[in-house]
Structure formats: structure tokens, C-alpha cells
């Protein structure tokens, strides 16, 4: 049976709640499953299998996010990454490593929303797969086969700011100017009487 987006969302909400998530977290699971479905990916199946595994929410230290003695829940981690996005612990200020993450693709919807809200590009990398999330752009991935994997030992999240658009302005130091002039000069043929005649204008005694 092919599910509609609305059915993906409502099924994910109830299943996540049934698996013991708090209602607000179950809403995040529903959002994630629907977002992946909108990209043509089967996020609901990924979520279903994730929900059968024991996982835990993250704690963080020195930009390493992990669950002590447990696999990280991608919904709790994704929501926390989104919540912390602009904070010092978040990926905007420093790349973040997620250790031992279940169903890593489920964090992509949260990163996509953060990218869109903050106007940055986010790169998520795990073994065999790089996913790129940019504002108003479809999800880009290097390897679809590894995208929907059940588990990743390490996922690295890096944010890259888009350079602000500013008016054109280039000011050269004298050193740079000297380098450039020397190099540019090499593209010119030295002057000679023969070349002057080749210019096709009147002779040098014309005036």
C-alpha cells in the first residue's frame, strides 16, 4: 500500500508515541518521517526499525554528542541539534561528532530546517555517505545505498556559512600590486620599430 504524506505523518506520530516517546518528541518523529517521504525516501520504514531498538537521548562534551553506554536516538538528537543550533554546543560554531547513531538519515530533516532558518549549508558525513543540506535546495547525497543505513559509528556535522553578498570592493597592497604588474607585464610583446609598423597606423614621423 502506498501511503499519503498525511498517513506517513500520523502513523509516525502514533508509532513514536507507542514506542514511549513524549508527545512533543513524537511530533518531531512525525515531522522527520514526513520530510524524508517528501524527498522520495522511505523515512517511515527507517523510523519503524529505529523504534524497535533501544536508544537514548544525547549528552555532549567537547563537541562530541553521545549517549553513555547506548546508541543515540536520531529523533532526540536531531531535535537537540536544532534546539542548540545557534548555541556554542551546536554545529554552527564548531563541527559536531555524533557517536553511535541509530538511523542517521532521520537527523537530516532537522538539519534541513536549521539550514533553511539560518541560511547556511550543512554537511553530514558518515561511513560511505555525505549528505548536503542547503536552503531552498533539494537534499544532495553522494551515495543513496548508504543513506538509509540502520546505524553509523560516527556522524560528523559541519556547517558552512554562505558568504554575505556585499558591494564590489578590491584594494591591493603594494606587494600584491607589484606581483600582479610583473606577471601582467609578461603578456606584452616588447616595443620595436618593426612592431610599430605592424600597428598599421601612420608612420612615426606622421606628426
Amino acid at each position: 500500500m502506498t501511503l499519503t504524506l498525511s498517513e506517513v505523518e500520523s502513523t509516525a506520530l502514533k508509532a513514536a508515541r507507542g514506542a514511549g516517546m513524549a508527545w512533543g518528541m513524537a511530533e518531531e518523529a512525525a515531522f522527520a518521517a514526513r520530510w524524508l517521504a517528501e524527498q522520495g525516501l522511505d523515512g517511515l520504514t527507517l523510523l519503524a526499525h529505529h523504534l524497535t531498538r533501544p536508544t537514548a537521548p544525547p549528552t555532549y562534551h567537547n563537541h562530541r554528542w553521545q549517549a553513555a553506554g547506548a546508541t543515540l536516538c536520531p529523533i532526540a538528537t536531531g531535535a537537540a541539534l536544532s534546539d542548540h543550533f545557534h548555541l556554542p554546543e551546536g554545529p554552527l560554531s564548531h563541527p559536531v561528532d555524533l557517536i553511535d547513531l541509530s538511523a542517521p538519515a532521520l537527523i537530516l530533516p532537522f538539519l534541513a530546517t536549521s539550514a533553511a532558518r539560518s541560511g547556511v549549508i550543512i554537511i553530514a558525513q558518515w561511513h560511505g555517505c555525505t549528505a548536503i543540506l542547503a536552503p531552498d535546495t533539494p537534499l544532495a547525497v553522494t551515495d543513496l545505498d548508504h543513506l538509509l543505513t540502520d546505524h553509523a559509528p560516527v556522524v560528523t556535522i559541519t556547517a558552512a556559512a554562505l558568504l554575505p553578498k556585499s558591494p564590489y570592493k578590491t584594494t591591493l597592497t603594494s606587494t600584491t600590486e607589484h606581483i600582479l604588474q610583473t606577471l601582467v607585464q609578461r603578456t606584452y610583446v616588447p616595443a620595436s620599430d618593426q612592431s610599430r609598423r605592424g600597428a598599421g597606423a601612420s608612420g612615426t614621423d606622421d606628426n
Partner: protein, 550 residues
């Protein structure tokens, strides 16, 4: 006409508007969804036909009704069944109906009709496709349906009092849209101008169902009476709407869609504020207002109910409408505001909200554009801002949830009930927390109690802590924290009432939503079950072009 710049003094605050007693006194207005639909179709010159009518003398068969707009055509596919009386039930647990319907995107081929015939009569047990926009079913009003067929077959018109007492030939018991049971997702059609507004596909389905119900009684009368039979008188026909029987399912919808509820409320409140801010009336608006009050008086006359609560409210309404008619339109500056302030100190909630509806009626030019603001981008409003501080959250709690945080929810009367979904056909139900099992599986409708719990736990956190830190430690507060954060931008998003208290009337929530649909003749069958009529006294498809401005 343009709206005055500063309407602050004329706006009703959420503390006044978002209370159950007032929401449960709501009346349909010209911003109601069925009015918006009819207005658009009239303005855009939609045309209508019935390319298929294949119904046998026993009333079994299928029919197609088309609505043809400037860019798209939509077809109501109707299946008429022969339902034994003992199987007729309005509850969601029913498995058979007098008629079943789907709204098809385009014009269906015979193959489409065959596919739908194999699925639509089964309703939830069947499956429709992204080519369908809604799935619906309806049951006959046994009393009126039989009476109308009998009379027409004998060459007579039905008794007008009977027509008014019931108000419809059939009542829908569910109209599913928005991706349910395989239907097209709202996102895939919301970009079409005719469907951007809320519930427009559902309203279109019901409006075309209304035509089907009248065609069916005339068909059955002709089959029985032969040359003696007559068609239904035009005036009586117009007084018929489509009934709707609604239970608790509508109440959780209002909680689940806070930004949508906010936008409905804000549009209506903005409309009222613009009118109150008008410096004077005109002869045209005064006359149109008086007509609206007379229509409301007429409507209240034919509006009956056996429910004690509604009987009392109808008495209030009739008395208040008489007071409004007697009061007349003031002649001092800002006359509508004068009238409004008089109403707030004189009338019951029924009368005040009826006055609101009447005030909106003459001012289409000033307010109809607000209908374009009644949809919501829920995905955009969804993410929490985790970098906001505990101090921010405390401020929002104090400003928008003061009604919630002072209640003692350990008192049984303040937490007497719980909302849940039964495994029996997934029917939403209301349980008694201290008398029956299931409270561990309750739905997050206890907004007040959740807000109070959040406020309690926040007390342990310093003001400058980012919410992200709190939510990592307390995922159980994520649901209500999102709502509290939204309340700053969407002040009318939350019903400011303890929805699990003993004595809470779910029908108040149902009425509010149904009034936004455009429902009239709200008739509670219990504190959690209600019948209404849609499209009563509105034109039929064939009358739309010749009708005055809607």
C-alpha cells in the same frame, strides 16, 4: 474601503475570545468556509452539470456531479445504496451507509467510476487514490426523506413545518480529506487558489451532495408516482441543507492545529475590529444590517433542539435578537462600536456572537479579503527556537497561560477527564480519569495541566538558560513548550480553558469549528455529540449565477 490604521482599541483580546462558553456560542459569518467557497465560485463564473445519473427505481446506483472552474474541474461521484434501517448509524463505528461519495480531481472515466465503486462504498475499509480529494458518506433523515418522497409521489409538496424541523434530507457522518485513506495530500492541492482556504474541498463535496439528495428524492418520487409525481418546490428546496452528525473527533483537531485556529480567530476578530472602527454607517450598511438581524430572528425561529443546554441558549438568543432589533442602529460617531459596547454589557454570549455575525454581513468590501488569511503554514511554525531563554518562556507563560498555571490539577474535579482514541474504529472518546482505565494513553489535550507542569519545572532553571538545555533534560515538556513559544506570535492559538475539568462541554469546541464551516441549527444530542446543517438557505449550483452577491 480601507481599514483604519490603528485598531488596537477595537480588538477583543484572546482572554475574552478563547473561552469555551463564548466559542460555544459562535455563529456562522460571511467569513465561514462555505460562504467563501460560494463567493469564489460565483465571482469566477463556475459552471455545473450532472453527466452521469444511473440510479434504479429502488434508489440504487451511481451519479456524477461536476463543478467546472477556470482551471480545474471537480466531480462528486455519488453511490446510492439500499440500506436496511437497522444498519443505519451515524457513529464512526458504522459499516454501511445510505450513500457514499468521493470528490474526483477532473472528470472520471467509466474505469475510474468502477474503481471507485469497488472502494468508496467500503469507506475506511477501502482505498482511494491521489486523484480523489475527499471521501464521504451520508445517511437519510428517515423521517423527512420518506415524507418528502411520499408527498412528491402523490403530486403534493412536503409539509413546510416538517422540512424546517429537520432541515435536510441526508446528513453526512464523515467527510475525509487531506490525504486520508489514500486521498490527495493537502500540500498537493493547496496551491490552487480555490483550495488555499481551509476545508474548501470538503465544503465543495458537501454542497454537491446537497444537490444529489434532492435529485434522489425526486427520482424516487417519480419512480413511485409516475406521471402524478411533482418536483420539489423551489422555496422548500432552498430551505434544505445537508445535515452533519459530529462527535468528539473535531475537538482534538482544534488542539492539534493551533496556528490554523489562531488564523481563523484572528481573521474574524480583525473583521469585527475594522467594523467597530468605522466612524459612521451608510444607509446601505444600516439596511443590510437590519436585514441580517431579521434573517437571524427567522433562523432562530426554525432552530429547534431537545437538549436542555441548547433550549436555554436558544431562549437567550431569541431574547437577545429581539433586544438588538429594538435597539436599532445608533446615530452617534462610531455607531457600530457603540452598539457593540452596549451588547457586551446587555446581551448573553449567544446574543453577542450573533451580533458579531450580523455586523460582518453588510461589510463584505471591508472584510472579505480576510478570507485569504485563514489558512496556515504549520510547517513554518513548527520548529522551536532553542536559543530563546527560560526568561522568554516564563514571560510567554505569564502572558498567555495565566489561566492555566493557577489551577490545582491534583484536585479530581480539575483533572476529571482524559481524551483518548479507542481501538474500536479509532473513535476519539472522553474518559473519566478516576473511574476507568486508559488514562496512561491520553491524548495531549490537557494543555492547561501541561503548561502548569512546565512552569513548575522551569522554576529550577536560571533566567538566562537557553530552552535547548531545559528540553534536553525534560523532553516531556517539548509539546507544551512549542505551544507556549508559538503563543507570542499566534495569540488566539490556544483555547484558554482546562479541557480535562469535570463539566467541560466538548460541544463548545465542536460548535466553534462548525460555525467556521458555516453550520447553522446547532443541535446537541449530548454534551459530546451534535447535529447541524450546512448550506441551508444557500443557492444550489444551478442558481449560483443568477443569485445576488454572496
Amino acid at each position: 474601503m480601507t481599514a483604519p490604521a490603528d485598531l488596537t482599541a477595537y480588538r477583543r483580546p484572546p482572554e475574552q475570545v478563547m473561552r469555551l462558553a463564548r466559542m460555544g456560542s459562535a455563529h456562522p459569518t460571511r467569513l465561514s468556509f462555505l460562504r467563501n467557497l460560494l463567493r469564489r465560485m460565483q465571482t469566477e463564473g463556475w459552471t455545473f452539470d450532472r453527466p452521469v445519473w444511473d440510479v434504479n427505481p429502488q434508489g440504487v446506483g451511481r451519479a456524477v456531479y461536476r463543478a467546472i472552474g477556470p482551471n480545474h474541474t471537480y466531480s462528486l461521484v455519488a453511490f446510492a445504496h439500499d440500506l436496511p434501517d437497522h444498519m443505519r448509524s451515524d457513529r464512526v463505528i458504522a459499516t454501511a451507509w445510505d450513500a457514499t461519495f468521493a470528490l474526483f480531481d477532473g472528470t472520471p472515466t467509466p474505469a475510474d467510476l468502477d474503481r471507485l465503486q469497488a472502494n468508496v462504498p467500503l469507506q475506511e475499509a477501502g482505498r482511494i487514490s491521489a486523484q480523489e480529494l475527499t471521501l464521504a458518506r451520508a445517511n437519510r433523515s428517515v423521517r423527512l426523506f420518506a415524507h418528502v418522497v411520499d408527498r412528491l409521489a402523490q403530486g403534493q409538496q412536503p409539509d413546510a413545518a416538517e422540512v424546517d424541523a429537520v432541515g435536510y434530507l441526508m446528513r453526512t457522518t464523515a467527510v475525509y480529506g487531506s490525504g486520508k485513506f489514500g486521498a490527495a495530500d493537502r500540500d498537493t492541492i493547496a496551491h490552487r487558489p480555490e483550495f488555499r482556504g481551509p476545508f474548501q474541498v470538503e465544503m465543495l463535496s458537501v454542497w454537491l451532495i446537497r444537490s444529489f439528495t434532492v435529485d434522489l428524492v425526486e427520482h424516487l418520487a417519480a419512480a413511485r408516482g409516475g406521471p402524478t409525481a411533482v418536483p420539489l418546490d423551489k422555496t422548500l428546496r432552498r430551505r434544505l441543507g445537508v445535515g452533519n452528525s459530529t462527535g468528539l473527533g473535531m475537538a482534538p483537531f482544534l488542539i492539534k492545529h493551533p496556528t490554523l485556529l489562531n488564523n481563523w480567530m484572528m481573521a474574524r476578530e480583525e473583521a469585527l475590529a475594522r467594523i467597530r472602527a468605522l466612524p459612521q454607517t451608510t444607509p446601505t450598511t444600516t439596511a443590510a444590517f437590519q436585514t441580517a438581524i431579521q434573517k437571524a430572528i427567522q433562523n432562530a425561529t426554525t432552530w429547534t433542539s431537545d437538549h436542555p443546554i441548547q433550549i436555554a441558549k436558544l431562549a437567550d438568543l431569541r431574547a437577545d435578537l429581539a433586544l438588538i432589533a429594538a435597539q436599532g442602529v445608533p446615530t452617534d460617531p462610531y455607531p457600530w462600536n457603540t452598539l457593540w459596547l452596549w451588547a457586551e454589557t446587555t446581551l448573553t454570549l449567544e446574543g453577542q456572537e450573533a451580533l458579531l455575525a450580523a455586523l460582518l454581513e453588510p461589510h463584505g468590501l471591508l472584510i472579505d479579503g480576510l478570507a485569504d488569511c485563514m489558512d496556515a503554514d504549520e510547517a513554518k511554525a513548527f520548529p522551536l527556537d532553542g536559543s530563546k531563554t527560560v526568561a522568554h518562556l516564563r514571560t510567554d507563560l505569564a502572558r498567555h497561560y495565566a489561566w492555566a498555571t493557577t489551577t490545582d490539577y491534583t484536585q479530581p474535579e480539575n483533572s476529571a477527564r482524559f481524551w483518548y482514541v479507542s481501538e474500536e474504529k479509532l473513535e476519539p472518546r472522553l474518559g473519566e480519569r478516576y473511574d476507568e482505565p486508559g488514562a496512561a494513553l491520553e491524548l495531549p489535550i490537557d494543555t492547561g495541566r501541561m503548561a502548569a507542569a512546565l512552569a513548575t519545572d522551569l522554576a529550577h532553571w536560571p533566567d538566562d538558560t537557553p530552552i535547548a538545555h531545559v528540553l534536553l533534560a525534560h523532553p516531556e515538556h517539548r509539546f507544551i513548550a512549542r505551544r507556549v513559544q508559538q503563543s507570542a506570535r499566534f495569540p488566539y492559538a490556544e483555547i484558554r480553558e482546562n479541557l480535562i475539568a469535570a463539566g467541560t462541554l466538548p460541544i463548545d469546541m465542536l460548535r466553534c469549528k462548525l460555525a467556521f464551516f458555516g453550520a447553522s441549527h446547532f443541535d446537541p444530542r449530548s454534551d459530546r455529540w451534535v447535529r447541524i446543517a450546512l448550506f441551508q438557505n444557500q443557492p444550489y449550483p444551478q442558481d449560483l449565477a443568477s443569485e445576488g452577491p454572496l
